[in-house]
Symmetry: C2
Subunit: 199 residues, 2 copies
């Protein structure tokens, strides 16, 4: 299919680089993850790595994109076995296993608030998609009576995302806090009021 396999090889190499980068960042954190460091980890020179990703930021955005894909794939594997809320809570809980990645996410998202940042579009789109999906889920739950009806679904989705993001900053600062538990508390606030005892 690919002529002389060169295109396919390039894609495979990119994947290899991203996987390796993911590991290094998870282990060493964002601060120590220079292009040089990431290049060495995958057995390339700095210039060699930049042949695949033009700039450092593009590389980092690609790392986060790949991680989102992995999370999504896992979620879909488990579709139907749990509620939307429960799935969200579990993803947050799993995050606590990869401090370096959380740091990448927190710091890159902070830097990418600047519209001129190469990863700005990535985060904008990610947020939009998240809000849309979660708001849809919440609306469905409201319709079937498993979520409070007196809250705007868009706003609830936004709050969920914001709280999750904010908790990650807190957790990086103090890893003893339980992100999943806090998220669970927020989700509980979104449950419909308990049915009266005589219902």
């Amino acid at each position: 299919m690919a002529r002389r396999g060169s295109y396919a090889k390039g894609v495979a190499k990119r994947e290899e680089i991203l996987t390796s980068a993911l590991e290094v960042i998870a282990r060493e954190g964002y601060g120590r993850a220079s292009v040089r460091e990431l290049a060495e980890a995958v057995g390339l020179s700095q210039a060699g790595l930049l042949h695949y990703f033009g700039t450092k930021e593009e590389l980092f955005a690609a790392v986060l994109r790949k991680r989102d894909e992995a999370d999504l794939a896992r979620s879909e594997d488990e579709t139907g076995t749990r509620s939307v809320f429960e799935g969200f809570r579990q993803t947050i809980g799993r995050n606590a296993d990869v401090p370096g990645l959380i740091q990448l996410y927190v710091r890159l998202s902070a830097e990418a608030t600047d519209a001129a940042h190469p990863a700005h579009a990535f985060f904008t789109e990610r947020t939009r998609a998240f809000r849309e999906t979660v708001a849809g889920d919440i609306r469905r739950m409201q319709a079937e009576g498993t979520a409070r009806a007196d809250v705007d679904a868009e706003q609830a989705a936004m709050l969920l995302l914001a709280a999750a993001d904010g908790l990650q900053v807190q957790w990086l600062t103090d890893p003893t806090i339980d992100m999943a538990e806090h998220v669970a508390t927020l989700l509980r606030l979104l449950e419909p009021p308990a049915a009266p005892a005589d219902a």
Copy 2:
């Protein structure tokens, strides 16, 4: 009191620097706020400024500290005229007037998650104090029936802080979102269930 006024002068100069830095950062954003830039704005050379604050990070932490003090002073001015929740909501709303400062806060807090960062202790202590104060307020409200009793006050305080932090990131990315409104929604979730009509 101070011998030849030299000590008092140093303190005044520090204040002058901080005030100026606050303005520059609010206007130019975090990215463009180099020590040189901040020094020029207050009529000093870079080395001159660093005479007062040993390092860039110490300067930035001092800027945030000063801003917290200003917020606190304003809040205390208005004590008693509003509920704790309303005060919180209004502070968030005011934040939307100073994008540069929000950026400073978001980015510095992200960087300071690293325990070795010079501003780490500042954020740790700030978070602790916030949680303690807000949790206390919530407990009081629970006792008097103006907040849901079935939520842990510490967790609610944490969620409030996390949501506020996360919303700031979202807002920097897209300034059309209304932080205060979203916070208000969360606060509403913490209200006690409406009294039955026949109560």
